[in-house]
Structure formats: structure tokens, C-alpha cells
């Protein structure tokens, strides 16, 4: 494929900020500027979103041959489609003739796509198979094989479809680097895994994707304050203090991180229905069962911008409640601006009442109108506005929490597990990883 490569280089100013981060972040300092800056945004488009495995869709969103959804990687519109053989593929949603948008509906089913400008027609594998008046206007000269839809690499893990724009990137398996062990808690609640409930919530907000991704990488620190209403109305059984118990785990050099919050005395696998608890004994390893059965809150970020939260919640405070899982993509659409995608995922094998109740818990707590989500977005949009000011951009934030903590050598999972639940070890690894990507030409 003939492409013209134009790679953006950072200005000397941004380069020196990024270089400074190499030593600064492990010592507990992160520049405020990274959280809302036009140049940082532009550079991220190529150096982060052009290289990392970016979440596209859950396999259950395209279960049948021909099913497709439209998603994004950076500012590229991507068709994620299951071809007629059942293989998941991704293509740039751009007609190769003059660049028209091929699919305009955000979901649909098609074996072939026909462009609405001049009618070039592609198989859902991306192959160009039809060109109107090929004999008459091209005199059969145009080689259809040269003009397939631009393919995007896809790989999946337990139902999650990721795409990568970099042909030289390592495999998804290597990229996740052991984080799969933790993702299994969300993705393997039974032999048939998970499915999305309905269609994702979508909304836009003036916030930087990184502050959201950081929050879900284990910011248990904000909960008692930002979500204080939850304690006040009785949504959290624990006091603010016991909320800090648990462990935070990160995968060094990869950026992925999870916070596992525990409540002392919580019954094992509290809030899951018995069917799912039983199934998890089969699908998870004994070590995973030992760890996850104790977990109240599991909140993680798959670097760069996919986050997942698993939480027990009852719509009416004080009632037993259920677990809900929300998966969210903080998709950057401009400096300090995101389009938010938020899914609720449920165990495929769970009884319908549990799926429904789990979804209701999700909508009350998360999504555009979710009571917890509302306050997070309030704080995130405000801080994003603040950090772009001329004074703020030269400041650094302290990331020192937990600098002296030691990893737990007995913890059975991969990565570095540092108790308790609340500290900033995960974030230091995340922003070091980010700086490493941003410095690579």
C-alpha cells in the first residue's frame, strides 16, 4: 500500500518536559500541562493512539456474520465487522476512491459496503469487488486488488476486541503482559464469558482522557470525598477508612493498573448470584478465586484509555444489591475533550433477572445521568479547565502517595502488587509509561 508518512515531532519545550518526566515521575511528580495541552494532544494521537492497542468493541456487539459497529482509534473512524466466515475485522471507514465515509450508520449488518459517492463496492473483508463502469471509464486498467479498504490490525481477549494502527506493535498478548489475569475477573464469570447489555451510553465532556483513565487505575482516594453523598445516603456499607483496604497492582512498563478494594467481613463473592459464583470456580484459577472472592471493588485501566469497574450496588441503599460491571472508553476528540463511551457488561450465563438488575444498578450509578458519574465529570471538567492556564501549565502535581510502600511478595497475581488499595504507585507507572511512548520517535 502506498502511503506518505509524515510524523509529528515535539517542540523543544514539550520534548524537554517529556524527558524530565523520565526521572520526575518515579520520584512522584507529574507536570500539570499534560492534562490539557493542544501539542500534547496532537502528539498523543500519533505516539499513544497510533501505537497502543485501543479498545474497539465487545464481540457480543457483532455476534453474526455481517454485523458491524463504527468505532474510533484516534481520529480514525473504524468499521468493526464480523465477516462472512465469522472472523472479526477492522477497516478504516474511508472509501479508497476519494475518501467518502463508507458506513454512516453506527451499527448495521452488511456483506458488502457500497459507497454513496461513486458506488465503489467492498466485501466486508475489505476487498474492493465492484467499480461502476469499470470497463467504460477505467478501461479495466484500475487494479481492484490495490484499493481494498485500509485494514486495521485486530486481536481479541475474552470478548474484547482491540485494534492497533501500528503494524510493528507487539501482539495484544504481549502488550497486556499479564494483565489478563485481572481482566479475567470481569470477563470470565462463566464458560460463555460476558455480553454487553444494550448499546453504550455516549456523551461528550470537556475533560482530558488521562484524568479519567488515572481515576479508574485505582483512585480510591477520591471516593469518600467526590462521592460523599454515597456515604451520606447509605450506599457504601464501609466507612471512608475501611474503604482504603485492599491492594493496587500495576504491570511495570505497560501502564495497566488495577485497584482491588476489600471490605473486611464481606462474604466471598458478595452480590453475585449463586450460578455465577459456581461458574467462576470453574473458569477462574484457584489463585484468582482466592483473590477475587475477597474483592468488593475492582477498578482498572487498560492503558491507554479503556477502564473497567466492577462493584456491588443496590439501587435502594441498604438492600443486598447486585454486582454491575461498566466498561468505558475515554476517547479523546480534542485537547481537553472526550467522547465518552460507556457499556454495561453482564455474565452471559447469568439469569435474566440478574442481568436486568445489574443494568439498572449501572444506569442509576453510571452513564450520563449516573449519580456517581455526574460528580466525577464535574470534577474532571473543572480540573481540565484549570490546568490549561498560563500559571498552571508550569506546575507539577505530587504523585508521592505510597512511595515507601513495599510490594506484597506473597500476592499470587502477575505485576507489582502493593497494599493497600489507595496510593499512587499505579499512576506513577502509568505516566512513566505514557512518557516513554511520547518520547519514542
Amino acid at each position: 500500500m502506498q502511503v506518505l508518512k509524515g510524523r509529528r515531532q515535539p517542540s523543544p519545550e514539550v520534548r524537554s518536559m517529556l524527558e524530565a518526566m523520565v526521572d520526575m515521575v518515579p520520584q512522584g511528580r507529574v507536570p500539570a500541562r499534560i492534562f490539557n495541552d493542544p501539542e500534547v494532544f496532537e502528539l498523543e494521537q500519533e505516539r499513544i493512539f497510533g501505537r497502543c492497542w485501543v479498545f474497539l468493541a465487545h464481540e457480543s456487539e457483532i455476534p453474526s456474520p455481517g454485523d458491524y459497529v463504527l468505532r474510533y482509534i484516534a481520529n480514525n473512524s473504524i468499521i468493526v465487522v464480523r465477516d462472512e466466515e465469522g472472523k472479526v475485522r477492522a477497516h478504516l471507514n474511508m472509501c479508497r476512491h476519494r475518501g467518502n465515509q463508507v458506513c454512516k450508520a453506527e451499527m448495521g449488518n452488511a456483506s458488502h459496503f457500497r459507497c454513496s459517492y461513486h458506488g465503489w463496492t467492498y466485501k466486508n473483508t475489505g476487498e474492493l469487488i465492484g467499480v461502476p463502469y469499470w470497463n467504460e471509464v477505467y478501461h479495466r486498467r484500475l487494479d481492484k486488488a490495490e484499493w481494498a479498504l485500509v485494514p486495521v490490525r485486530v486481536e481479541t481477549y475474552n470478548g474484547l476486541i482491540f485494534g492497533n494502527l501500528d503494524p510493528d506493535a507487539p501482539s495484544l498478548e504481549e502488550y497486556l503482559g499479564g494483565f489478563q489475569w485481572y481482566l479475567d475477573f470481569y470477563l470470565k464469570p462463566g464458560p460463555n464469558g460476558t455480553e454487553v447489555y444494550g448499546t453504550p451510553d455516549k456523551w461528550v465532556a470537556d475533560t482530558d482522557w488521562k484524568i479519567c483513565a488515572e481515576n479508574f487505575a485505582g483512585d480510591g482516594y477520591h471516593t469518600p470525598v467526590a462521592h460523599a453523598f454515597g456515604f451520606e445516603l447509605g450506599y457504601f456499607p464501609s466507612s471512608a477508612r475501611t474503604h482504603f483496604e485492599g491492594v493496587a497492582v500495576h504491570i511495570p512498563g505497560k501502564g495497566h493498573a488495577i485497584g482491588l478494594g476489600r471490605t473486611p467481613g464481606m462474604p466471598p463473592f458478595f452480590g453475585f448470584p449463586p450460578e455465577v459464583v459456581e461458574a467462576m470456580q470453574q473458569t477462574l484459577t484457584p489463585e484468582q478465586v482466592q483473590v477475587f472472592s475477597q474483592v468488593r471493588t475492582a477498578v482498572c485501566t487498560v492503558f491507554p484509555n479503556l477502564s473497567i469497574l466492577l462493584q456491588p450496588f443496590s439501587r435502594i441503599p441498604g438492600q443486598p444489591g447486585v454486582r454491575f460491571v461498566t466498561m468505558r472508553l475515554w476517547h479523546p476528540i480534542g485537547p481537553g475533550r472526550i467522547q465518552m463511551w460507556s457499556w454495561c457488561i453482564v455474565p452471559k450465563d447469568a439469569p435474566q433477572w440478574y442481568k436486568d438488575e445489574s443494568y439498572l444498578a449501572y444506569t442509576l450509578a453510571f452513564g450520563a445521568a449516573g449519580m456517581f458519574e455526574q460528580d466525577d465529570f464535574e470534577n474532571w471538567t473543572n480540573l481540565t479547565r484549570q490546568v490549561k492556564s498560563t500559571l498552571a501549565r508550569d506546575l507539577v502535581f505530587p504523585y508521592e502517595m505510597g512511595m515507601d510502600l513495599e510490594p506484597d511478595p506473597t500476592f499470587p497475581g502477575p505485576g507489582v502488587a502493593v497494599p493497600p488499595y489507595v496510593h499512587e504507585t499505579n499512576f506513577r507507572n502509568m505516566w512513566s509509561t505514557w512518557a516513554k511512548y511520547m518520547l519514542r520517535d
Binding site: 462472512e84 449488518n109 457500497r114 458506488g119 463496492t121 466485501k123 476487498e127 469487488i129 461502476p132 463502469y133
Partner: protein, 81 residues
Amino acid sequence: MGDRQDGTRAGRNSQDEFVIANEFATVIVRKVHTRNGVRLEIASPKLGHSIRLDPLELESLTWQTTETFSRFLETPFGPGS
């Protein structure tokens, strides 16, 4: 409450006639009863083509692969296009 009266063809479905559409094409499919039998009519209101297939023709479609249709679509708007 909330039924859509949006005037789209999706509302035209009935027992013997229904619409199959995606963002690339819309066809009306219906059973056509002849004096002695039945055919399936597939019509494209956009392009003005239609075909009436009998059960044997329809059955023969069941062993086609996508390649057959990709070949049909080499002229994406019908013969001569």
C-alpha cells in the same frame, strides 16, 4: 406509547410483504401467488429492478457462497453499470 410513525418503509411490513434494508440498499420482498403456485419477488425500488424466484431457484441460492454475490456486485448498480 412511542410507536414510530416516521414514514420509513420499515413500517410497511405485513405477512406477505416485508422490507429488508441496511444503509446500502432497500429491497421489498413479497410472496407472489400465481394461479397455480407461488414465487418470491425481490424488488429494488431505488434501482427499479425486480426478480421473481421459484423455490428451486431459491434453493440453489442456499449453496452459493459470498463470492457469487461479490461477482454479481462487480457492477454495483446492475447490468451496464
